[in-house]
């Protein structure tokens, strides 16, 4: 069974989320305070965290940073504010995705959770190379000169998506559909923030990227740097 930790201070909403997720066959751990998250997290590590931004005890963004410091578990932020700043702060703190309350449909929430949990790139096998990085898709590992680089599942998916079709230029919309499973999303902030985060981990110089290259006005593509 999949376990999702739901962190929300609104009891009714948390309970409702529990009902919906349980109905979809997902186990739920309910936490109502920010400062209680890490204890629960250690006792019973979840497969995914559903995290509200505004929390008593400890702010959702701080909680997100704490989790990221020790785990690559997928994090989906819940925000009552659709404001850019809140969303970007959450993504920069390490969240993979976000949902603005109220959700269009509960099914949308479940779809998002499933996307984050599913094993993407199951069709890709063996070793991929991008720049001086070696990617072992099955083992979910990225190696540079034999040393492993820690990536979140989403960052890994993003890198694999680019690496498996070197030379292809991906639009942001294409990446949103490929990696996040969105159709028709116009929110390109997700892509921008995660590309930045990915670069900070894999590029030699994030200011002058050589592995994930920006094609101005279009999107991104994998670099064809020699040295693989």
């Amino acid at each position: 069974m999949t376990l999702v930790m739901v962190v929300d201070d609104d009891q009714d909403l948390a309970e409702m989320l529990g009902i919906v997720l349980t109905g979809a066959g997902i186990d739920v751990d309910l936490v109502s305070r920010g400062d209680e998250v890490m204890d629960v997290f250690h006792n019973n590590p979840p497969d995914l965290v559903l995290l509200d931004v505004m929390l008593p005890g400890l702010d959702g963004i701080e909680v997100c940073k704490l989790i990221r410091a020790e785990s690559m578990v997928p994090i989906v932020m819940l925000s009552a504010k659709g404001d850019t700043q809140d969303v970007v702060r959450g993504l920069e703190a390490g969240a993979d995705d976000y949902m603005v309350k109220p959700f269009r449909h509960p099914s949308e929430l479940i779809a998002r959770i499933r996307t984050r949990l599913r094993r993407t790139n199951a069709d890709v096998s063996g070793l991929l190379t991008i720049g001086d990085l070696a990617i072992d898709v099955q083992a979910h590992q990225v190696l540079r000169a034999g040393k492993q680089i820690q990536l979140t599942r989403l960052e890994f998916d993003l890198l694999v998506a680019l690496a498996k079709e070197p030379g292809r230029v991906f639009t942001r919309d294409a990446l949103l559909s490929e990696v996040w499973g969105y159709r028709h999303s116009t929110d390109t902030r997700l892509v921008n923030v995660h590309v930045q985060r990915l670069r900070s981990k894999i590029e030699h110089d994030a200011e002058h990227p050589e592995i994930v290259i920006t094609i101005r006005g279009v999107g991104y593509k994998a670099g064809v740097m020699g040295g693989s």
């Binding site: 609104d10 009714d12 909403l13 409702m16 989320l17 009902i19 919906v20 109905g23 009552a80 504010k81 659709g82 850019t84 309350k101 109220p102 959700f103 449909h105 509960p106 099914s107 942001r172 028709h184 116009t186 929110d187 390109t188 902030r189 101005r216 006005g217 279009v218």
Partner: protein, 516 residues
């Protein structure tokens, strides 16, 4: 010349100085001429008196000598005449010359002629009017005249004459002519002094006026400058009050006004901030229970088949109304952002044609329900723009949804036109249309063209107003055209780079298919 008129119109100081100088000029002119005429009359009078005395004694002496020469020979008489002339002219000083003229009276037919004028003075210098009076009178007669000399040149003079009897030669008129050259020089000198004094006086008056006016105008100018800066938004500006005069009263009044304005503005700003904050908080606070509600309603809705018909229908209504409630909440929140001027643009590069097509496809189903269809036509296959795609999409969806609502089962035409600089999207429907009143209010919040009209799509009434704000945020424009029963035409024009402004309208607002 224009500059001077401009100055007169626009500078209080210049106006005051100019009018003061003009008035002073009149006063100086009048006093100057009065002084001038008094002085010249005075000088002339003094001269006349002494001249008359001198002339009387000279003529008396001459008469006496002629009397003594009675019965003498002609050459002796000639001698006496010469003597008389010599003594009369010798008496003259260098400055004030005087001449003697003898003129034979008309009717004197004696053969000997003693007619003579001293020092080449032209005898015609004696006016005939004076001669006539001399002949009639027995006493001295005088008149001002010009002394003309035969070699040329003339000076102002005074001629005094009387009849005399010359022995053996009959009646003659004897004239003493005094030169007034010195007096004229004196008067000229006085005149030039008067003129110079007048000019200096005028300059001094102008200077004094300027100094005085400056005292008044400077604080007024200062007040104007401060008022301008105040208007420009610097509410801390205050006038300096340093004295106890009317200017300081103005300063006090101005400062009080500024103070009260500043407080009012601060109060209103605070009020609007509080209100805006409240709207935003309410919207946010509503979101959490709304999320719970939505999920609960979905759960109920998904099992509605197991309920009886009324409960099942109620579940459907619940879901639909929650949808509507949510849209309203979103729109309200967006409106409050616009009102608070915190709406921000996030510009990205995208293809406008693709976006329009996508919106049209998304709404195709709704259009089909309303028995209409959307046709998109673009001049170019790809039109790249840099704008906030979320907002542009919202504008397009609002325009299309609005067109579908009013299409009356007739098709909807969308055209996309682009230039180097701008891009325009026109949405034309051929349905109910808009009258003039509706056109002025179509972008108003919560305004409905016809309150009795069913709003099947459950719009919020904020769509077009938000669309307009979105367009303006892009430095673009959204305009509406319509005629009752002839449909409506909404044209969105945006700069292709959002920070620029629109160059020109690419789609005429009145549709080309419309013939009045």
């Amino acid at each position: 010349m224009n500059r001077i008129f401009w100055k007169i119109r626009n500078s209080l100081a210049f106006k005051v100085i100019l009018s003061t100088v003009i008035l002073s000029l009149g006063v100086v002119w009048i006093t100057g001429s009065a002084l001038n005429s008094r002085l010249s009359t005075g000088i002339k009078e003094v001269n006349l008196n002494s001249a008359v005395v001198e002339a009387r004694s000279t003529i008396f002496t001459a008469e006496y000598r002629f009397l003594l020469a009675q019965g003498e020979k002609d050459f002796v008489v000639q001698q006496v005449v010469d003597d008389v002339i010599a003594s009369a002219t010798t008496l003259t000083s260098n400055e004030n010359t005087r001449e003697v003229v003898f003129i034979r009276s008309p009717g004197n037919t004696r053969p000997i002629n003693y007619e003579i004028a001293s020092n080449l003075l032209d005898p015609k210098s004696i006016p005939s009017s004076l001669s006539e009076r001399v002949r009639k009178e027995t006493d001295l007669v005088w008149q001002y005249t010009d002394m003309r000399y035969v070699p040329g040149g003339k000076v102002p003079g005074l001629a005094i004459g009387q009849k005399v009897q010359i022995p053996n030669a009959g009646q003659y008129e004897m004239y003493i002519v005094f030169s007034l050259a010195n007096e004229k020089t004196t008067l000229d000198l006085i005149n030039s002094y008067l003129l110079i004094t007048g000019i200096i006086l005028l300059l001094l008056i102008a200077l004094i006026t300027w100094l005085v006016v400056r005292q008044v105008v400077k604080p007024v100018r200062e007040a104007a400058r401060i008022a301008t800066e105040f208007t420009a938004g610097d509410f801390r500006q205050r006038m300096k009050v340093e004295s106890q005069d009317e200017i300081s009263t103005l300063g006090h009044a101005f400062n009080e006004m500024a103070e009260s304005l500043e407080q009012q503005i601060a109060r209103l700003e605070n009020l609007s901030r509080v209100q805006q904050r409240f709207v935003s908080d309410v919207s946010h606070e509503l979101r959490t229970p709304l999320t719970t509600l939505r999920m609960a309603s979905e759960v109920i809705h998904s099992s509605k088949d197991s309920f009886d018909a009324t409960v099942s229908r109620s579940a459907e209504l619940l879901v639909a109304q929650l949808d509507r409630f949510e849209r309203l909440l979103e729109d309200l929140l967006e409106v409050s952002r616009f009102d608070a001027e915190v709406a921000v643009l996030e510009a990205v590069d995208f293809d406008m044609v693709q976006l329009v097509n996508r919106c049209a496809e998304d709404l195709a189903l709704v259009a089909k329900e309303r028995k209409t269809q959307i046709y998109v036509k673009s001049v170019e296959p790809v039109i790249m723009v840099k704008a906030d795609i979320r907002r542009v999409e919202r504008i397009l969806r609002n325009l299309l949804a609005n067109a579908i609502d009013h299409a009356e089962e007739i098709q909807i035409d969308v055209q996309i036109v682009a230039s180097e600089h701008d891009v325009a999207v026109g949405v034309r429907d051929y349905g109910v249309g808009l009258d003039e009143n509706a056109l002025t209010r179509v972008f108003d919040r919560f305004w409905r063209a016809d309150p009795s009209r069913a709003r099947t799509r459950g719009g919020t009434g904020l769509g077009l107003s938000i669309a307009l704000e979105d367009a303006r945020l892009h430095n673009g424009e959204l305009e509406a055209w319509g005629r009752p029963g002839r449909g409506a035409h909404f044209v969105l024009t945006l700069p292709r780079k959002t920070w620029e402004s629109i160059d020109r309208r690419l789609i005429p607002l009145q549709p080309e298919d419309y013939k009045a």
